[in-house]
Subunit: 312 residues, 2 copies
Amino acid sequence: MIIAIDMMGGDFAPLEAVKGVLQYLQEERSPARLLLIGNQEAIAPLISEYNVPQDLLKIIHADQVIDMHEHPTKALKEKQRSSIAIGFHLLASGKADAFISAGNTGAMLVGTLFSIKALEGVIRPTISTIIPKESGGTGLLLDVGLNADCKPEQLNQFAVMGSVYAQLILGIDNPRVGLINVGEEEGKGNILAQATYPLLKENKHINFIGNIEGRDLLIDKADVMVCEGFTGNILLKFAESLYEVSQRKQVKEEYFERFNFENYGGTPILGVAKPVVIGHGISKAKAFKNMILVAQKMLEKDVLGKMKEELQ
Amino acid sequence: MIIAIDMMGGDFAPLEAVKGVLQYLQEERSPARLLLIGNQEAIAPLISEYNVPQDLLKIIHADQVIDMHEHPTKALKEKQRSSIAIGFHLLASGKADAFISAGNTGAMLVGTLFSIKALEGVIRPTISTIIPKESGGTGLLLDVGLNADCKPEQLNQFAVMGSVYAQLILGIDNPRVGLINVGEEEGKGNILAQATYPLLKENKHINFIGNIEGRDLLIDKADVMVCEGFTGNILLKFAESLYEVSQRKQVKEEYFERFNFENYGGTPILGVAKPVVIGHGISKAKAFKNMILVAQKMLEKDVLGKMKEELQ
């Protein structure tokens, strides 16, 4: 198992990426082989300085970096020697089994969509986020922005992919799927939600519990919460802002701390043939470690194979 | 000026409605005449008990009540002697200038749409909510559920109606209008948001500042925040749940207290020819007082006339 890591992505790269790799190697009992992509001159000294065990590591030199605010498509095209471009090249050519980065999110999405095949039968890949539940558990919200306009069939696929991810990666047995909507009863909602409900109801591959409302997002009602990427993205960013508000207001409540999304170590793009994990720009060591762990788990548990199976 | 009040609507009616009327009469220097609609036998003794001054009051007996969970259309049709049906009859026939209720929200919406004309030129009326801003101010979010599917022209009208309301009722000068979206730049978003942006940009009747994201809702960026009723309803209910969460987690932060929407005294239906104000089911005296004040202000400041003018 070989996991490629963009060492140059994120506000605290490459230092925090190196520290994350170290944490991963120290804590994981059967770690994967890692390809560290980035500026050799920046990475190698840090590896020595932090005494990172080197037997499973290989540095792949990249002399370019795609900055956080560059235009994704343009940057990917013009910076073929960037860490992100090289990562996708390794992944597409089979030299890596998974790729993680906390760099330019747009470039990660564009790179994935252009260089990695969609899973057989998937209309469009999707991205999700963890939603901390008041009860202590976690829920999965998707789509959170990759697909601003959706068809009912897409939401139905998000429900399946989200369920597989929730079960195999988040460890939630028989995850409850809720359709995010403006009312509880069947027949409520906009045209999309009305047309999606019957598809979810008839879908034998998921445990559909019906509509959920905005007030149900934080409570222990549904584990997988499905909507199009417009509503999902606005909810995600609203939820992210809750952490910031609680920090500024000095609210010392552990629950709001859990809205600090940098703890979660990135989100995979679901529905493509190989694991790609995107991290937050502000990722620190723990987030890098968690991103590597998510990629490893996805490979070990054959999450993508299971998704393919459930989508048939 | 005559304001009709449904005394039977809400979880704490008629007691809290009577106490709200009393507060209103005590605090307002030039109070309106009030028509108190409801069960005479329940209301009259409370008015005596609480020493409510009676010179501006008239009780209109209603021997039926539409319960909170009744089907709106069916209930309105079958309960012609209910306080809500009588309220709309008084409003439509010109015997009242405004109507407020904390009763069955669906029945209030259906009653309004069927018995009160839309303002000239309005495609569809809308409902809004106050969003407490971290800075201490308030924003207005609309639509919050009356129109789950919208056309760009509707969102453009919501922006105008919201601006007039924000200016005349919330006291915000030259309110900044933001289009709720998934990114900042023009061209971002789903098909609806993309098509709405140019309309807002060209609209001379509003102060359009561009797109706002989920993270901007609580900060002091836009005063009037526009979206279709699907996203808006989910955001409203999510925001409402924040108060409940903070109560359960015993977070003693004044800001989260402001998400207790019962403080705000109801929301008017915007875009119809007469003021109709709908209150929360859990409305207490203060909320009733505030609802009456909103109706009075809307009449005094000719909010509807101004909206009509700005929509030309």
